[in-house]
Structure formats: structure tokens, C-alpha cells
């Protein structure tokens, strides 16, 4: 039984100019202890999915279809009270630039202990502090920094403290939304190691949201490529990277910078952001696609199964 099954999820936002279809018909599954990477550029809808899973969509958002089955319960049909039970205890989130989420006037160790105590009323303060210590170990923060204030921490350490806070209540799923953006390469590497570490030790599932495919490659078992609100390719990471099928996946893989391969002139095609209010019925990628045909922009593309663990949403890749 999968931990999380998202079926045909569609979410949009009511804006002044119309209804913006941010996420359209997304489906994926996540097993216990596995990790999934959602990769796409800004505006593709990946953050919206994370927010939908946490029940943190803003007031002007509307779920227009689909279901989110978490441990066999549909999160979309839950009341606000029930969602609050699930949130943070079972599903935790690490937000983008989360280091600003630390309260500057409280000591870091105390803040994490507070998070533990808030969700688990049986535990004593001492036991909570002990848990904080073990969390600090897990994420790699020296124990003598527990009593420091957030402004004494570097950016990377703050991010690790946030991860510790997310782990505090032993969730089964963690959603990490761009956790390493704005961090340097060395710190990024440390954060990714910390994530891999706790994933293995605690058998926690992770959904990793990022625009940087290289970062996701390091941490995830499965990957979903998103474009303009749709999932365009999905599968095990080895399959997708070895044999990318969707033209967008191919362009993404061709446009990231390595240190190990030779320097080659990369060609990034720059298309402007799609109008998600009045989107066409056909494939959203047509304008930027190099292999598009006339039919592509008129008829919605269908899923093509390349292998049991790899599929792509494109009529051209049969």
C-alpha cells in the first residue's frame, strides 16, 4: 500500500483576471521511505501541489478535482480540524527560505522543543529536550549550539534547524520546497546529505520540490517533471535520466551545468510564461517544442508508457 496516492489533482487560483489553472490533472504515488522529486520552472505548479498536500492553500485557491489519499484517507475531504491533526504530525513541510521561519527572540533549541510539546501533550519538557538533542545529531548541528539564537546561526545551520523542526514529530512524509535555494554549494551538499541521512534512518518519505534538476538527481528515487501545471514525465530516476522521452525533459537535462562532463555550448530555448487562464486544450509545451506537429496544439496529449516504471505525456514519443 502506497503512503500517498494523488489522483487527477487539479488546483486553480481566483485572480482579478480570471481563474488561473495552476495544477491540471496530476497523478502520482509515493511509497513508504521513498523519495520523489518534482522538477519544473517557476510557475509550473509544483509549490501549489506541496501546499495542497499540507492543506495550506490560500483563500483564493480552489481544488477543482481529484483526490489525495494519504494513508488511505482523502486529505481533500477532511475538515479543517482533521487536517490540523495530520499536518506537522504526519506530513511536515520545509518551506523555501525557511530560515526566516525561526523566531529571532527565542533560542533555537527551545523553539524546536516547543514544536514537539505543541503536538505531543504527553511528553515532558526534559524528554522533549532529549529529542531535540537527537534531532540535532541527525541533521548535523553541534549540540553546543542548542542554546544559541537564530542570528548566531549561518544560513545552512538555520536550514538544518528547520529540518530538525520538521522532523520533530516523526512525520511519515516531508515535503521540501526548494530547501537549498539561496545556499552555497558546500552547504547545499551538507543539507542534501542530512536529508538522505534521515530518510534512511527514519524511513521517511520525501517529496523534493526544486527547479534544479541536478539537486533532485542526488536525493530522489523517482522524479516527476512538471511544465505549465501538468506532469509531463514520470518514473524512476534512472529511467528518466537515461532515456528522457518528453522534449521538455530533454531540454532540462541539456541545460544544466556539470563539472564532470566537457564544456559544451548549451542551447536553452527561452519561451515566455504560458497563459494559464486561457490555456489551449492541446499540449502546453508546443511553442517551445522542437518536435511539435500540428495536431499537438489541438488535441490533449496522452500518457505513453515506456516501461512499467516510466511514462511520458507526449504524442510524439511513441
Amino acid at each position: 500500500m502506497a503512503l500517498l496516492t494523488v489522483s487527477n489533482l487539479s488546483v486553480g487560483y481566483h485572480t482579478r483576471k480570471g481563474f488561473l489553472k495552476s495544477v491540471q490533472g496530476i497523478s502520482f504515488t509515493l511509497d513508504h521511505g521513498k523519495s520523489l522529486g518534482l522538477v519544473g520552472e517557476s510557475g509550473c505548479g509544483k509549490t501549489t501541489i506541496g501546499m495542497a498536500l499540507m492543506g495550506l492553500l490560500p483563500d483564493n485557491a480552489a481544488v477543482t478535482g481529484g483526490e489525495i489519499l494519504f494513508e488511505d484517507q482523502d486529505l481533500l475531504r477532511m475538515s479543517k480540524k482533521e487536517i490540523r491533526q495530520v499536518r506537522w504530525k504526519k506530513i511536515a513541510m520545509i518551506f523555501q527560505a525557511a530560515m526566516n521561519a525561526l523566531n529571532p527572540v527565542h533560542r533555537v533549541g527551545a523553539q524546536i522543543a516547543e514544536a514537539i510539546l505543541a503536538h505531543d501533550t504527553d511528553i515532558s519538557e526534559e524528554a522533549a529536550m532529549k529529542q531535540v538533542k537527537s534531532l540535532f545529531d541527525l541533521v548535523g548541528i553541534p549540540l553546543d549550539r542548542m542554546r544559541d539564537y537564530p542570528h548566531h546561526y549561518s544560513g545552512g545551520m538555520k536550514q538544518r534547524a528547520i529540518i530538525a523542526m520538521a522532523l520533530a514529530c516523526h512525520p511519515s512524509l516531508i515535503i521540501a520546497d526548494e530547501p537549498t535555494t539561496a545556499l552555497d554549494v558546500i552547504v547545499q551538499d551538507q543539507i542534501l546529505s542530512a536529508i538522505k541521512n534521515f530518510q534512511n534512518k527514519l524511513n521517511i518519505s520525501v517529496i523534493f520540490i526544486s527547479h534544479d534538476i541536478a539537486v533532485v538527481a542526488d536525493v530522489c528515487d523517482n522524479i516527476g517533471i512538471m511544465f505549465a501545471g501538468q506532469l509531463v514525465e514520470y518514473g524512476r530516476i534512472e529511467d528518466v535520466f537515461d532515456t528522457p522521452m518528453h522534449p521538455y525533459t530533454k531540454s532540462l537535462l541539456a541545460s544544466y551545468l556539470t563539472l564532470d562532463k566537457d564544456v559544451v555550448q548549451l542551447n536553452a530555448y527561452l519561451g515566455e510564461t504560458l497563459d494559464l487562464i486561457n490555456s489551449t486544450p492541446g499540449c502546453h509545451f508546443c511553442e517551445r517544442c522542437t518536435v511539435a506537429e500540428a495536431a499537438c496544439s489541438l488535441v490533449p496529449p496522452e500518457w505513453v508508457e515506456i516501461s512499467p516504471t516510466h511514462k511520458a505525456l507526449c504524442t510524439q514519443c511513441k
Partner: protein
């Protein structure tokens, strides 16, 4: 820029307070415009000199005089219209001048920093603590009756500190922004940076504060007129109140007492509502619409 204005307008439209304020303002503006007509119809309707040949004392409203007449037979309704004109003139000019002064000083203080900033802000502090009304009263008792434009100037000179502080704060935060640094790197002079780059960014805030200044200017002028220190040759609402009081008609002629008082309150209220609604337009954080990803 037109698009920006339209976008702002669409946010403004949804604010109930803003709509009410705007409607009231339009009514008063019409009143002010119409104040020119009655004397043209019949000289007896002139607010200052118009005397009804048939009436020479205070009378209650009638068809001839919609709000009645004052103690020497002048039409109250026309006085009210003229008062609207004066209120707008005084309010807007005084506010405009104080905003001009306050914005310029605020920007210069914020941008220059150090000594210039300290000096200007201490000056602002000193002026801010002086009670405007009192000082103007003292001045007029020393120099006799003041002309309306002198009053406007004095109000402007005493009311710029408030807005300058806000503009200075805004300038301080803008100063560090990359687009200002980009202007510096491009070689722009300090003058150009202040007036081309910083000013457009603080102007919305200035305009906002102008609406609040209008309210205080109108009230100060009304208070001065009521206390007898206004310009005797202009008919303002405060002046009307003074006449009611001085001629002992306070409790005998509600048709004379109430209109100017109500107008002062409503006009200042409408400007205030305008300002509040504008605040929502200017500060996206206050808006009810939540931004999406």
C-alpha cells in the same frame, strides 16, 4: 502608467469606505462649482453682499431661500456653497504646499544622512511640537486680521514635519535598493537620483498623506474663522459658525447652525475615507486578494 492607475482603481472600487468617500467628495465638489451660479441668477444670492430687499433678519428655510437667511438677510445656502469652495481651496492648497515641502525635505534628509539629516529632523521636531492653531492665533492677534492665503501658508509651514518623517523613512529604505545603486553606477548625480528615482517611489505615499493634511487644514481654517481670526472677506463654514455664535442665534436657528458644522465634518470625513482606501491600493499587503505563486 495608465494601466497602473486602472489597476489601482479596480482595487479602490471594491473598498466600500473609498466609494462612500468618493461620492461625498463629488457632491461637495459639485457644491463648490455651483457656488458661482446663484449670484449670477440674482444678486441677492451673493454670499457676502447679497441682501434680500424683503428680508433683513434671520428666517427659516423657504422656497426663496432654501436654507433660510442669516442675521442680515443673506442666503445661507449660497454661503454654504461658497464655503465649500473655500474649504476645497484652503484644504487642497495648504495640503499641497505642506506635502511639497515635507516630501522634498524628507527625501533630502533621508538621502543625505548624517548632519543634514539630523539638522532637518531636529527642525521638523521643533515645528511639530508647536501647536499650530495657537501660533496662528498669536500671530493674528499681533498682526491683525489675516488674509486667507496667509492662513494657508502658515498651515503649510507648520504641517510639513509629519509627512517629512514618513517620506524620510521611505527614502532610507529605498536608498539601499539595487535600482538606486544601479543609477549611481550609471553616473547619476545625487539630484537626479532623488528627483528621478526616489521621488516617483515616494509620491504615492505623499499623495496619501495629502488627503490627511487636507482634513487638518480645513479644520484649522474653520477653527480660526470660528474664533474670529479668519479672513473677514471670505465666507467659509467656520466663518458662518462664527456669525451664528456672535449674533446669538446658536439655539434659535438650527437651519443656520447645523449645515456648516455638518459640512465640515462630512468633508473632512470623506477626505479621510479617500485616504484610507488609497492606502489599500498603495500597500499590496493590505489588499484582500492573496498573491499566488
Amino acid at each position: 502608467m495608465v494601466e497602473r492607475f486602472l489597476e489601482g482603481w479596480s482595487v479602490y472600487k471594491e473598498n466600500l469606505i473609498g466609494k462612500i468617500g468618493l461620492i461625498l467628495l463629488v457632491i461637495f465638489a459639485l457644491m463648490a462649482l455651483c457656488s458661482f451660479f446663484p449670484p449670477m441668477i440674482d444678486p441677492m444670492y451673493h454670499p457676502m453682499t447679497g441682501v434680500d430687499p424683503l428680508i433683513s433678519h434671520s428666517t427659516s428655510p423657504s422656497w426663496r431661500h432654501w436654507l433660510g437667511t442669516d442675521f442680515i438677510g443673506r442666503d445661507i445656502f449660497c454661503q454654504l456653497l461658497a464655503g465649500a469652495r473655500i474649504a476645497f481651496m484652503v484644504g487642497i492648497s495648504a495640503a499641497f504646499m505642506s506635502i511639497l515641502l515635507g516630501t522634498a525635505i524628507g527625501m533630502i534628509a533621508g538621502y543625505s544622512g548624517k548632519i543634514v539629516d539630523t539638522l532637518l529632523m531636529r527642525l521638523a521636531d521643533m515645528i511639530m511640537v508647536m501647536p499650530t492653531l495657537l501660533v496662528v492665533l498669536i500671530l493674528s492677534s499681533l498682526f491683525g486680521q489675516l488674509n486667507i492665503w496667509t492662513i494657508v501658508l502658515l498651515i503649510a509651514l507648520f504641517r510639513w514635519p509629519g509627512v517629512s518623517r514618513v517620506i524620510r523613512a521611505q527614502t532610507l529604505s529605498l536608498k539601499e535598493r539595487p535600482f538606486i545603486e544601479a543609477a549611481k553606477v550609471a553616473g547619476a548625480s545625487h539630484f537626479r537620483i532623488i528627483f528621478r528615482h526616489i521621488m516617483p517611489n515616494v509620491l504615492p505615499l505623499s499623495l496619501l498623506y495629502m488627503t490627511f493634511r487636507v482634513t487638518s487644514a480645513i479644520i484649522i481654517e474653520a477653527a480660526l474663522a470660528f474664533l474670529g481670526f479668519g479672513d473677514p472677506s471670505t465666507v467659509s463654514w467656520g466663518m458662518m459658525l462664527q456669525w451664528v455664535w456672535k449674533t446669538g442665534h446658536m439655539f434659535q436657528a438650527p437651519y443656520w447652525l447645523l449645515p456648516p458644522g455638518i459640512c465640515i465634518s462630512l468633508l473632512t470625513l470623506s477626505f479621510y475615507m479617500l485616504g484610507r482606501a488609497m492606502e489599500e491600493v498603495l500597500d499590496p499587503r493590505l489588499r484582500k486578494e492573496v498573491a499566488q505563486e
